[in-house]
Symmetry: C2
Subunit: 418 residues, 2 copies
Amino acid sequence: MKCEVVAVGTELLLGQIVDTNSSWIGEQLAAVGIDSHFQTKVGDNPRRIADALRLALSRSDAVIVSGGLGPTQDDITRDVIAEVMGVELVHDEMVAAKIREMFSSRGREMPANNLRQALVPDGASTMDEQPGTAPGLVCPMVVDGVDKVVYAVPGVPMEMRQMVGGTVMTDLRRRAGDDATIASRVIRTWGNSESGLAEVLADHIDRLDSEGHATLAFLASGVEGLKVRITAKGPDQASVSRLLDAEEAEVRAALGDIVFGVDDDTMESVVLAGLARSGQTLAVAETISGGYMASRLTPAPGSHVLLGAVVATGDAVRQRLYRLAEVEVADSDRGSVAEAAALAEGVRQMFDADVGLATAGLSDTRRPSGEVAVAIATSSGVDTVEWRLPRDHDRVRQFSCIGLLDRVRRTVIAADGR
Amino acid sequence: MKCEVVAVGTELLLGQIVDTNSSWIGEQLAAVGIDSHFQTKVGDNPRRIADALRLALSRSDAVIVSGGLGPTQDDITRDVIAEVMGVELVHDEMVAAKIREMFSSRGREMPANNLRQALVPDGASTMDEQPGTAPGLVCPMVVDGVDKVVYAVPGVPMEMRQMVGGTVMTDLRRRAGDDATIASRVIRTWGNSESGLAEVLADHIDRLDSEGHATLAFLASGVEGLKVRITAKGPDQASVSRLLDAEEAEVRAALGDIVFGVDDDTMESVVLAGLARSGQTLAVAETISGGYMASRLTPAPGSHVLLGAVVATGDAVRQRLYRLAEVEVADSDRGSVAEAAALAEGVRQMFDADVGLATAGLSDTRRPSGEVAVAIATSSGVDTVEWRLPRDHDRVRQFSCIGLLDRVRRTVIAADGR
């Protein structure tokens, strides 16, 4: 089964919007084993959209086309599909009623333009999911004697995702003769490279390949860590869940403590939840990360354990934190583990918290040196470590913060034994 | 002149990486008036890459292909181009020497693999820009009796941008017979919508269209504001600079004080520079924005005026700031302008700064209410304002911070008269 993706919109070609839809669709197709060999972007031009659809249909069994389903004259995807199918557009009163109701529920009159969205190629059906005014279309057609299909979905990512995740994937898998239940789980790790993980799991992956009921894929995700996605297939939900549980246990056993979470867990939520479980509170002092750590912790679930954070850019506030820690930090120690330790203990005292964290480092002419010191202060003392990172603001803040939180997870929270 | 873009890489189709290269290239082509009607993503498969190149060459005068120039067996773009040109790959000793030197300058031996990168299709030339080990290739060829060209650039965005911004654009414009000098300037605004700006500038745009030596384009850029890009064309650099200056003056006159900067200016850098000019220092207290404001200010040029920031998530630190401001804030005033005012004045006192800023707001079950209060405290008093924003963490932090900085620009800095 092969499925191509065509993204419609002149704004995509002009670079005014990055086409993230195709990538997301590609990920969904890959997860269920459907090949996608080409993805095309094309502008709002009827002849070129038709050319792109015909070419895609000549190479693949199915085409997902996103965009061009809006109410304006520029939105011509439905017209072009009707042309490619060799049929007329017909008015669908159920769709029209749905659109009219969306407007009236907001106390607004439906503009006449929006009736264009109730036009459907003769022989096509609409999708049940319809979060906006644009209906998704399932357009079956015979190409050179072979049954093929075009799915048309809106370009608005939220609407596209509902339709592709629902009707499109179900219909595609049915067409592929795949009536198995399929589900995924993501194991999140920090502290090993993609090739490192692949090596550790190599035998396991070989065995999965020969058995054929589950697959592993690695997704490098920068500061979010390296994800291992388990995808399992079975006759029903219960058997798939059992497979995922068994696989998760095996992956965890193989990878050890570099696994920090599953699915929606983040390093922040895991650390905050760990501290909450043992009733510990947190305070943060940041120099080189300049507020980045606080900005990641505050929206995360469990952030009530964070009593506060100080971005210690000025001399006075740093001196104050040193005094609270009852240590002296020489000018020559700026950016070192000595400073990080003083800041972590100082901010712990300032907020009367159980755990104090700090990042320290130097930068010249607005560029970080890349040498970063971090510290974890608790009532039993201060743990420090130094890292050498790329001389880049984003990398320095991201890696020092997540690295420091990972160290909290491995030390403070692991020691708590829960 | 038509130029297509082909992005090579199975990881792009699988959605492991979003193809931002094509969008960036599309933006560059649009800026100089070169049409790009199709952009294609294709995997690391020789037959399919060849099909994509041949199709693109049949429709367009030039093709920019990114990716697949690395040293491994998967990297086959150069092989496929040679096949499409109908020529052999030849060893380029100058490229080999350059790669060898890159390794030796880092004290490393060049792996034999990397010699693959010194293979160049016979008749192609390499690009002067070569920040990494992969050389960019200019591959002229005759297709159906017409002179066409394929440019091959690496998929690494930084390397791709140097080559496309340099050799590729120069060569494309020469081929298009366009020997004019072209340059752009971006006017950055905050506080009006795209349609609002378009309306204000409508007559001006009509006049530019009829004169033909400059164009305006709007780029909605979320929290970075709405950009107005002026592109001007002329016989030489001096005349283009004069055109840009004249256009900038007209746009500024039409838009008034919603213009906050030009080109690389950001709201942060403009506000920090304004405070630095008048010798004023800054302190920040954040509740609802949770460190986001500090994390934007700290890496910006001029951040030495920021004496420090407090993320006031816990009760104790908030009470302390209220006491420093010498005001009482009732529990029922949490998240209101009364709290924002107390936090702004409190943090100004805490850091002994000239200007204190604060964001305040409430959230339930980790979702912000969307009602945000911000305040600016100076020695002459406290200025506050309330906004109603979408109930979304990112939007609330982004818009409250940039909105507050914009208000500092319009009040504190404008009052300073410089």
